[in-house]
Symmetry: none
Subunit: 231 residues, 2 copies
Protein backbone atom coordinates (compact mmCIF):
# COMPACT_ATOMS: atom_id res chain seq x y z
CA UNK A 1 0.00 0.00 0.00
CA UNK A 2 1.25 3.38 -0.78
CA UNK A 3 0.38 5.23 2.37
CA UNK A 4 3.29 7.51 3.07
CA UNK A 5 2.64 7.54 6.80
CA UNK A 6 1.00 4.68 8.57
CA UNK A 7 -0.25 6.59 11.60
CA UNK A 8 0.72 5.28 15.00
CA UNK A 9 -1.87 4.15 17.48
CA UNK A 10 -2.04 6.98 19.96
CA UNK A 11 -1.94 6.17 23.64
CA UNK A 12 -2.83 8.27 26.66
CA UNK A 13 -1.12 7.48 29.96
CA UNK A 14 -2.96 8.19 33.20
CA UNK A 15 -0.96 7.68 36.37
CA UNK A 16 -0.37 9.87 39.38
CA UNK A 17 3.29 8.89 39.62
CA UNK A 18 5.47 10.95 37.31
CA UNK A 19 8.20 8.33 37.15
CA UNK A 20 5.78 5.60 36.33
CA UNK A 21 4.34 7.75 33.56
CA UNK A 22 7.78 8.29 32.18
CA UNK A 23 8.69 4.62 32.29
CA UNK A 24 5.48 3.62 30.62
CA UNK A 25 5.81 6.33 28.00
CA UNK A 26 9.33 5.32 27.12
CA UNK A 27 8.37 1.68 26.74
CA UNK A 28 5.40 2.55 24.55
CA UNK A 29 7.40 4.90 22.38
CA UNK A 30 9.99 2.21 21.79
CA UNK A 31 7.30 0.10 20.22
CA UNK A 32 6.80 0.61 16.48
CA UNK A 33 3.22 1.52 15.70
CA UNK A 34 2.58 3.06 19.10
CA UNK A 35 3.03 6.61 20.25
CA UNK A 36 2.17 8.52 23.40
CA UNK A 37 -0.23 11.37 22.76
CA UNK A 38 -0.44 12.60 26.32
CA UNK A 39 0.14 12.03 30.00
CA UNK A 40 -2.25 12.79 32.83
CA UNK A 41 -1.96 12.62 36.58
CA UNK A 42 -5.59 13.13 37.49
CA UNK A 43 -9.09 12.41 36.27
CA UNK A 44 -9.87 15.91 35.04
CA UNK A 45 -6.53 16.18 33.33
CA UNK A 46 -7.15 12.87 31.60
CA UNK A 47 -10.58 13.91 30.39
CA UNK A 48 -9.21 17.14 29.01
CA UNK A 49 -6.49 15.37 27.07
CA UNK A 50 -8.92 12.85 25.67
CA UNK A 51 -11.14 15.69 24.56
CA UNK A 52 -8.32 17.42 22.76
CA UNK A 53 -6.21 14.63 21.36
CA UNK A 54 -8.61 11.68 21.05
CA UNK A 55 -6.35 8.69 21.73
CA UNK A 56 -7.27 5.19 20.62
CA UNK A 57 -5.90 3.67 23.81
CA UNK A 58 -5.70 4.73 27.43
CA UNK A 59 -3.49 3.17 30.07
CA UNK A 60 -5.11 3.96 33.39
CA UNK A 61 -3.84 3.43 36.92
CA UNK A 62 -6.50 2.35 39.40
CA UNK A 63 -5.34 4.51 42.28
CA UNK A 64 -4.86 8.11 41.22
CA UNK A 65 -3.98 9.57 44.57
CA UNK A 66 -7.22 10.87 45.99
CA UNK A 67 -9.22 9.90 42.96
CA UNK A 68 -10.28 6.56 41.63
CA UNK A 69 -9.30 5.28 38.23
CA UNK A 70 -12.58 3.36 38.14
CA UNK A 71 -14.50 6.60 37.99
CA UNK A 72 -12.35 7.78 35.15
CA UNK A 73 -12.98 4.57 33.25
CA UNK A 74 -16.71 4.92 33.66
CA UNK A 75 -16.55 8.50 32.45
CA UNK A 76 -14.51 7.48 29.42
CA UNK A 77 -16.88 4.64 28.66
CA UNK A 78 -19.76 7.05 28.65
CA UNK A 79 -18.33 9.91 26.65
CA UNK A 80 -15.92 8.12 24.33
CA UNK A 81 -16.91 4.46 24.06
CA UNK A 82 -14.36 3.90 21.34
CA UNK A 83 -11.39 4.66 23.59
CA UNK A 84 -10.03 1.31 24.74
CA UNK A 85 -8.78 1.20 28.29
CA UNK A 86 -6.05 -0.98 29.75
CA UNK A 87 -5.78 -0.80 33.51
CA UNK A 88 -2.31 -1.02 34.94
CA UNK A 89 -2.21 -1.26 38.68
CA UNK A 90 0.14 -2.39 41.31
CA UNK A 91 -2.68 -3.55 43.52
CA UNK A 92 -3.94 -7.04 43.89
CA UNK A 93 -5.63 -8.09 40.69
CA UNK A 94 -7.90 -10.37 42.69
CA UNK A 95 -9.51 -7.27 44.09
CA UNK A 96 -9.50 -4.89 41.18
CA UNK A 97 -9.42 -6.78 37.90
CA UNK A 98 -13.09 -7.61 37.96
CA UNK A 99 -14.04 -4.12 39.08
CA UNK A 100 -11.95 -2.69 36.27
CA UNK A 101 -13.69 -4.76 33.62
CA UNK A 102 -17.09 -3.96 35.06
CA UNK A 103 -16.25 -0.28 34.91
CA UNK A 104 -15.53 -0.66 31.22
CA UNK A 105 -11.87 -1.49 30.84
CA UNK A 106 -10.74 -4.09 28.33
CA UNK A 107 -7.73 -5.33 30.23
CA UNK A 108 -5.90 -5.42 33.53
CA UNK A 109 -2.17 -5.82 33.80
CA UNK A 110 -0.02 -5.68 36.89
CA UNK A 111 2.72 -3.09 36.96
CA UNK A 112 5.18 -5.64 38.24
CA UNK A 113 5.09 -7.39 34.89
CA UNK A 114 8.00 -6.97 32.48
CA UNK A 115 7.59 -4.59 29.55
CA UNK A 116 6.97 -7.29 26.97
CA UNK A 117 3.96 -8.54 28.90
CA UNK A 118 2.66 -5.02 29.20
CA UNK A 119 3.09 -4.38 25.50
CA UNK A 120 1.37 -7.65 24.67
CA UNK A 121 -1.54 -6.64 26.88
CA UNK A 122 -1.70 -3.24 25.27
CA UNK A 123 -1.77 -4.68 21.77
CA UNK A 124 -4.36 -7.23 22.69
CA UNK A 125 -6.58 -4.50 24.06
CA UNK A 126 -5.89 -2.42 20.98
CA UNK A 127 -7.25 -5.24 18.86
CA UNK A 128 -10.45 -5.12 20.85
CA UNK A 129 -9.83 -8.25 22.88
CA UNK A 130 -9.83 -8.63 26.62
CA UNK A 131 -6.53 -9.06 28.41
CA UNK A 132 -6.14 -10.65 31.81
CA UNK A 133 -3.38 -12.72 33.34
CA UNK A 134 -3.78 -16.46 32.97
CA UNK A 135 -4.47 -16.88 36.65
CA UNK A 136 -7.09 -14.18 36.63
CA UNK A 137 -8.70 -15.51 33.48
CA UNK A 138 -9.10 -18.91 35.06
CA UNK A 139 -10.50 -17.36 38.18
CA UNK A 140 -13.07 -15.37 36.27
CA UNK A 141 -14.12 -18.43 34.31
CA UNK A 142 -14.48 -20.32 37.56
CA UNK A 143 -16.82 -17.69 38.82
CA UNK A 144 -19.02 -18.01 35.81
CA UNK A 145 -19.02 -21.79 35.75
CA UNK A 146 -19.40 -22.61 39.40
CA UNK A 147 -22.09 -19.99 39.64
CA UNK A 148 -21.25 -19.47 43.28
CA UNK A 149 -17.54 -19.49 43.67
CA UNK A 150 -18.10 -16.62 45.99
CA UNK A 151 -17.45 -18.72 49.02
CA UNK A 152 -13.74 -19.04 48.44
CA UNK A 153 -13.42 -15.31 48.12
CA UNK A 154 -11.71 -13.18 50.68
CA UNK A 155 -14.44 -11.27 52.48
CA UNK A 156 -12.74 -8.07 51.44
CA UNK A 157 -13.58 -8.86 47.83
CA UNK A 158 -17.25 -8.67 48.67
CA UNK A 159 -16.90 -4.98 49.43
CA UNK A 160 -18.34 -2.64 46.87
CA UNK A 161 -16.16 -0.01 45.22
CA UNK A 162 -17.23 2.72 47.56
CA UNK A 163 -16.87 0.50 50.58
CA UNK A 164 -13.38 -0.52 49.60
CA UNK A 165 -12.46 3.09 49.07
CA UNK A 166 -13.65 4.00 52.54
CA UNK A 167 -11.99 0.93 54.01
CA UNK A 168 -8.64 2.00 52.64
CA UNK A 169 -9.00 5.51 54.00
CA UNK A 170 -9.84 4.16 57.41
CA UNK A 171 -6.70 2.09 57.23
CA UNK A 172 -4.69 5.18 56.47
CA UNK A 173 -5.90 6.79 59.67
CA UNK A 174 -8.58 9.11 58.37
CA UNK A 175 -11.53 9.92 60.61
CA UNK A 176 -15.10 9.69 59.42
CA UNK A 177 -15.46 13.41 58.89
CA UNK A 178 -12.22 13.61 56.94
CA UNK A 179 -13.31 10.83 54.63
CA UNK A 180 -16.63 12.54 54.09
CA UNK A 181 -14.89 15.79 53.21
CA UNK A 182 -12.48 14.07 50.86
CA UNK A 183 -15.24 12.26 49.01
CA UNK A 184 -17.66 15.16 49.14
CA UNK A 185 -20.27 13.14 50.99
CA UNK A 186 -22.20 13.46 54.20
CA UNK A 187 -20.55 11.98 57.31
CA UNK A 188 -23.76 10.03 57.68
CA UNK A 189 -23.03 8.26 54.44
CA UNK A 190 -19.58 7.30 55.61
CA UNK A 191 -21.11 5.96 58.78
CA UNK A 192 -23.33 3.75 56.69
CA UNK A 193 -20.37 2.45 54.74
CA UNK A 194 -18.58 1.69 57.97
CA UNK A 195 -21.60 -0.30 59.07
CA UNK A 196 -21.73 -2.23 55.82
CA UNK A 197 -18.05 -3.00 55.97
CA UNK A 198 -18.35 -4.23 59.51
CA UNK A 199 -21.19 -6.48 58.52
CA UNK A 200 -19.41 -7.90 55.50
CA UNK A 201 -16.13 -8.45 57.30
CA UNK A 202 -17.83 -9.60 60.47
CA UNK A 203 -16.30 -6.98 62.72
CA UNK A 204 -17.80 -6.22 66.08
CA UNK A 205 -17.02 -2.57 66.67
CA UNK A 206 -15.23 0.48 65.43
CA UNK A 207 -11.91 -0.50 66.91
CA UNK A 208 -11.90 -3.82 65.12
CA UNK A 209 -12.83 -2.09 61.92
CA UNK A 210 -9.88 0.23 62.22
CA UNK A 211 -7.60 -2.62 63.16
CA UNK A 212 -8.66 -4.66 60.18
CA UNK A 213 -8.30 -1.74 57.82
CA UNK A 214 -4.86 -0.80 59.11
CA UNK A 215 -3.72 -4.37 58.79
CA UNK A 216 -4.96 -4.54 55.24
CA UNK A 217 -3.29 -1.30 54.24
CA UNK A 218 -0.02 -2.48 55.72
CA UNK A 219 -0.24 -5.72 53.82
CA UNK A 220 -0.85 -3.80 50.64
CA UNK A 221 2.60 -2.33 51.05
CA UNK A 222 4.16 -5.43 52.47
CA UNK A 223 7.34 -4.26 54.05
CA UNK A 224 7.43 -4.34 57.80
CA UNK A 225 9.51 -7.32 58.68
CA UNK A 226 9.38 -8.20 62.37
CA UNK A 227 13.15 -8.61 62.44
CA UNK A 228 13.36 -5.06 63.59
CA UNK A 229 13.89 -5.42 67.28
CA UNK A 230 17.44 -5.09 68.41
CA UNK A 231 18.50 -5.50 72.05
Amino acid sequence: MSRPTMPDTRVLIVDDHPFMRRGLAQTIKDQPGLSVCGEAGSVTEALQIIESSRPQLAVVDISLGEESGLELIKAIRQKWPDVKVLVSSMHDEMLFAERALRAGALGYVNKGEPPNVFIAALQRVNSGQIYLSDRMTNRMLDHVLTDKGEQIRSPIETLSNRELEVFEMIGKGLATKQIAAKLGLSPKTIETYREHIKQKLNLANSTELTRSAVQWVLEQGRNTSPADGET
Copy 2:
Protein backbone atom coordinates in the same frame (compact mmCIF):
# COMPACT_ATOMS: atom_id res chain seq x y z
CA MET B 1 37.02 24.26 34.87
CA SER B 2 40.41 22.63 34.86
CA ARG B 3 39.43 19.03 35.38
CA PRO B 4 39.01 17.40 32.01
CA THR B 5 36.79 14.59 33.24
CA MET B 6 34.64 15.11 36.26
CA PRO B 7 33.30 11.58 36.81
CA ASP B 8 29.58 11.22 37.28
CA THR B 9 28.10 10.15 40.58
CA ARG B 10 26.97 6.61 39.97
CA VAL B 11 23.50 5.60 41.10
CA LEU B 12 21.94 2.18 41.58
CA ILE B 13 18.17 1.85 41.24
CA VAL B 14 16.37 -0.82 43.22
CA ASP B 15 12.68 -1.23 42.47
CA ASP B 16 10.56 -4.22 41.65
CA HIS B 17 8.55 -2.38 39.04
CA PRO B 18 10.32 -2.31 35.67
CA PHE B 19 8.50 0.80 34.51
CA MET B 20 9.30 2.67 37.66
CA ARG B 21 12.96 1.70 37.25
CA ARG B 22 12.90 3.01 33.76
CA GLY B 23 11.28 6.28 34.69
CA LEU B 24 13.70 6.86 37.53
CA ALA B 25 16.67 5.93 35.39
CA GLN B 26 15.68 8.31 32.64
CA THR B 27 15.24 11.19 35.04
CA ILE B 28 18.58 10.53 36.69
CA LYS B 29 20.38 10.22 33.39
CA ASP B 30 19.00 13.56 32.28
CA GLN B 31 20.74 15.16 35.20
CA PRO B 32 24.31 16.31 34.54
CA GLY B 33 26.71 14.78 37.04
CA LEU B 34 24.57 11.73 37.62
CA SER B 35 24.55 8.40 35.88
CA VAL B 36 22.83 5.09 36.43
CA CYS B 37 25.24 2.24 37.02
CA GLY B 38 22.68 -0.48 37.44
CA GLU B 39 19.09 -1.54 38.05
CA ALA B 40 17.88 -4.24 40.41
CA GLY B 41 14.49 -5.72 41.09
CA SER B 42 15.33 -7.73 44.18
CA VAL B 43 17.56 -7.69 47.24
CA THR B 44 20.07 -10.27 46.03
CA GLU B 45 20.27 -8.64 42.65
CA ALA B 46 20.94 -5.30 44.30
CA LEU B 47 23.71 -6.68 46.49
CA GLN B 48 25.38 -8.27 43.49
CA ILE B 49 25.38 -5.05 41.54
CA ILE B 50 26.73 -3.09 44.47
CA GLU B 51 29.52 -5.63 44.82
CA SER B 52 30.47 -5.34 41.20
CA SER B 53 29.90 -1.73 40.35
CA ARG B 54 30.17 0.10 43.67
CA PRO B 55 27.74 2.97 43.28
CA GLN B 56 27.91 6.08 45.43
CA LEU B 57 24.14 6.31 45.68
CA ALA B 58 21.31 3.83 45.85
CA VAL B 59 17.63 4.61 45.26
CA VAL B 60 15.68 1.92 47.05
CA ASP B 61 11.99 1.14 47.01
CA ILE B 62 10.58 0.06 50.36
CA SER B 63 8.33 -2.68 49.06
CA LEU B 64 10.18 -5.07 46.77
CA GLY B 65 7.42 -7.54 46.17
CA GLU B 66 7.85 -10.22 48.79
CA GLU B 67 11.07 -8.74 50.10
CA SER B 68 11.62 -5.69 52.22
CA GLY B 69 13.68 -2.75 51.14
CA LEU B 70 14.46 -2.16 54.80
CA GLU B 71 16.40 -5.41 54.95
CA LEU B 72 18.35 -4.37 51.91
CA ILE B 73 19.18 -1.04 53.49
CA LYS B 74 20.43 -2.71 56.62
CA ALA B 75 22.59 -5.05 54.58
CA ILE B 76 24.03 -2.16 52.59
CA ARG B 77 24.71 -0.21 55.74
CA GLN B 78 26.63 -3.14 57.13
CA LYS B 79 28.73 -4.12 54.14
CA TRP B 80 29.17 -0.80 52.37
CA PRO B 81 28.60 2.02 54.84
CA ASP B 82 29.72 4.58 52.28
CA VAL B 83 26.85 3.85 49.90
CA LYS B 84 24.23 6.50 50.55
CA VAL B 85 20.63 5.36 50.33
CA LEU B 86 17.58 7.36 49.31
CA VAL B 87 14.30 5.59 49.85
CA SER B 88 11.60 6.19 47.29
CA SER B 89 8.26 4.76 48.17
CA MET B 90 4.72 5.30 47.10
CA HIS B 91 3.39 4.52 50.52
CA ASP B 92 2.56 6.91 53.27
CA GLU B 93 5.69 8.52 54.58
CA MET B 94 4.07 8.81 57.99
CA LEU B 95 4.29 5.07 58.17
CA PHE B 96 7.66 4.33 56.69
CA ALA B 97 9.95 7.33 56.70
CA GLU B 98 11.12 6.86 60.26
CA ARG B 99 11.73 3.17 59.73
CA ALA B 100 13.73 3.91 56.64
CA LEU B 101 16.04 6.27 58.50
CA ARG B 102 16.39 3.82 61.36
CA ALA B 103 17.41 1.15 58.91
CA GLY B 104 20.18 3.40 57.67
CA ALA B 105 18.79 5.41 54.80
CA LEU B 106 19.66 9.08 54.46
CA GLY B 107 16.44 10.19 52.87
CA TYR B 108 12.85 9.36 52.07
CA VAL B 109 11.00 10.76 49.11
CA ASN B 110 7.54 9.93 47.91
CA LYS B 111 7.21 8.63 44.38
CA GLY B 112 4.31 10.94 43.78
CA GLU B 113 6.65 13.91 43.89
CA PRO B 114 7.67 15.58 40.65
CA PRO B 115 11.11 14.82 39.21
CA ASN B 116 12.73 18.04 40.41
CA VAL B 117 11.87 17.22 44.02
CA PHE B 118 13.26 13.76 43.58
CA ILE B 119 16.48 15.07 42.07
CA ALA B 120 16.81 17.60 44.89
CA ALA B 121 16.43 14.81 47.41
CA LEU B 122 18.97 12.70 45.62
CA GLN B 123 21.53 15.47 45.54
CA ARG B 124 20.96 16.32 49.15
CA VAL B 125 21.55 12.72 50.12
CA ASN B 126 24.58 12.64 47.87
CA SER B 127 26.04 15.50 49.87
CA GLY B 128 25.64 13.45 53.01
CA GLN B 129 22.63 15.30 54.37
CA ILE B 130 19.31 13.89 55.40
CA TYR B 131 16.32 14.50 53.16
CA LEU B 132 12.73 14.43 54.32
CA SER B 133 9.67 16.37 53.26
CA ASP B 134 9.03 19.50 55.28
CA ARG B 135 5.99 18.01 56.90
CA MET B 136 7.83 14.87 57.87
CA THR B 137 10.83 16.80 59.14
CA ASN B 138 8.65 18.79 61.49
CA ARG B 139 6.91 15.68 62.64
CA MET B 140 10.15 13.94 63.40
CA LEU B 141 11.64 16.90 65.22
CA ASP B 142 8.48 17.20 67.19
CA HIS B 143 8.83 13.99 69.06
CA VAL B 144 12.45 13.12 68.58
CA LEU B 145 14.99 14.93 70.64
CA THR B 146 18.06 12.83 71.10
CA ASP B 147 21.74 13.21 70.54
CA LYS B 148 22.12 13.41 66.82
CA GLY B 149 24.01 10.80 64.90
CA GLU B 150 22.78 7.92 66.97
CA GLN B 151 19.71 5.84 66.52
CA ILE B 152 16.38 7.40 67.16
CA ARG B 153 14.50 6.19 70.17
CA SER B 154 10.91 5.24 69.78
CA PRO B 155 8.52 7.57 71.58
CA ILE B 156 6.66 4.46 72.63
CA GLU B 157 9.34 3.94 75.23
CA THR B 158 8.15 7.04 77.04
CA LEU B 159 4.84 5.39 77.82
CA SER B 160 4.30 4.33 81.39
CA ASN B 161 3.51 0.71 82.18
CA ARG B 162 -0.20 1.21 82.38
CA GLU B 163 -0.22 3.26 79.25
CA LEU B 164 1.70 0.64 77.36
CA GLU B 165 -0.68 -2.01 78.59
CA VAL B 166 -3.64 -0.06 77.31
CA PHE B 167 -1.83 0.74 74.08
CA GLU B 168 -1.33 -2.92 73.40
CA MET B 169 -4.96 -3.75 74.05
CA ILE B 170 -6.05 -1.01 71.70
CA GLY B 171 -3.80 -2.54 69.09
CA LYS B 172 -5.47 -5.89 69.60
CA GLY B 173 -8.82 -4.39 68.78
CA LEU B 174 -10.33 -3.94 72.22
CA ALA B 175 -12.75 -1.09 72.83
CA THR B 176 -12.42 1.28 75.74
CA LYS B 177 -15.09 -0.45 77.78
CA GLN B 178 -13.58 -3.86 77.20
CA ILE B 179 -10.19 -2.69 78.34
CA ALA B 180 -11.74 -1.18 81.45
CA ALA B 181 -13.47 -4.45 82.25
CA LYS B 182 -10.33 -6.48 81.66
CA LEU B 183 -8.25 -4.28 83.92
CA GLY B 184 -10.98 -3.76 86.48
CA LEU B 185 -10.93 0.01 86.03
CA SER B 186 -13.37 2.71 85.16
CA PRO B 187 -13.80 3.48 81.45
CA LYS B 188 -13.00 7.03 82.41
CA THR B 189 -9.55 5.93 83.47
CA ILE B 190 -8.96 4.23 80.13
CA GLU B 191 -10.04 7.39 78.40
CA THR B 192 -7.42 9.29 80.33
CA TYR B 193 -4.76 6.80 79.30
CA ARG B 194 -5.80 7.15 75.72
CA GLU B 195 -5.39 10.89 76.02
CA HIS B 196 -1.95 10.53 77.57
CA ILE B 197 -0.83 8.12 74.90
CA LYS B 198 -2.03 10.42 72.17
CA GLN B 199 -0.10 13.28 73.70
CA LYS B 200 3.10 11.32 74.07
CA LEU B 201 2.98 9.81 70.63
CA ASN B 202 1.74 13.00 69.05
CA LEU B 203 -1.40 11.53 67.59
CA ALA B 204 -4.23 13.75 66.49
CA ASN B 205 -7.33 11.66 67.06
CA SER B 206 -8.71 8.33 68.02
CA THR B 207 -8.30 6.82 64.59
CA GLU B 208 -4.61 7.60 64.53
CA LEU B 209 -4.24 6.17 67.97
CA THR B 210 -5.79 2.90 66.88
CA ARG B 211 -3.73 2.84 63.73
CA SER B 212 -0.52 3.39 65.61
CA ALA B 213 -1.39 0.76 68.20
CA VAL B 214 -2.31 -1.83 65.58
CA GLN B 215 0.91 -1.20 63.75
CA TRP B 216 2.94 -1.60 66.89
CA VAL B 217 1.23 -4.81 67.89
CA LEU B 218 1.81 -6.25 64.45
CA GLU B 219 5.48 -5.40 64.64
CA GLN B 220 5.84 -6.83 68.08
CA GLY B 221 5.57 -10.22 66.51
CA ARG B 222 2.42 -12.06 66.10
CA ASN B 223 2.38 -14.62 68.85
CA THR B 224 -0.54 -13.37 70.89
CA SER B 225 -3.41 -13.91 68.52
CA PRO B 226 -6.20 -11.36 68.72
CA ALA B 227 -8.71 -14.16 69.12
CA ASP B 228 -10.68 -13.43 66.00
CA GLY B 229 -11.49 -16.72 64.42
CA GLU B 230 -12.37 -15.61 60.92
CA THR B 231 -13.24 -18.83 59.21
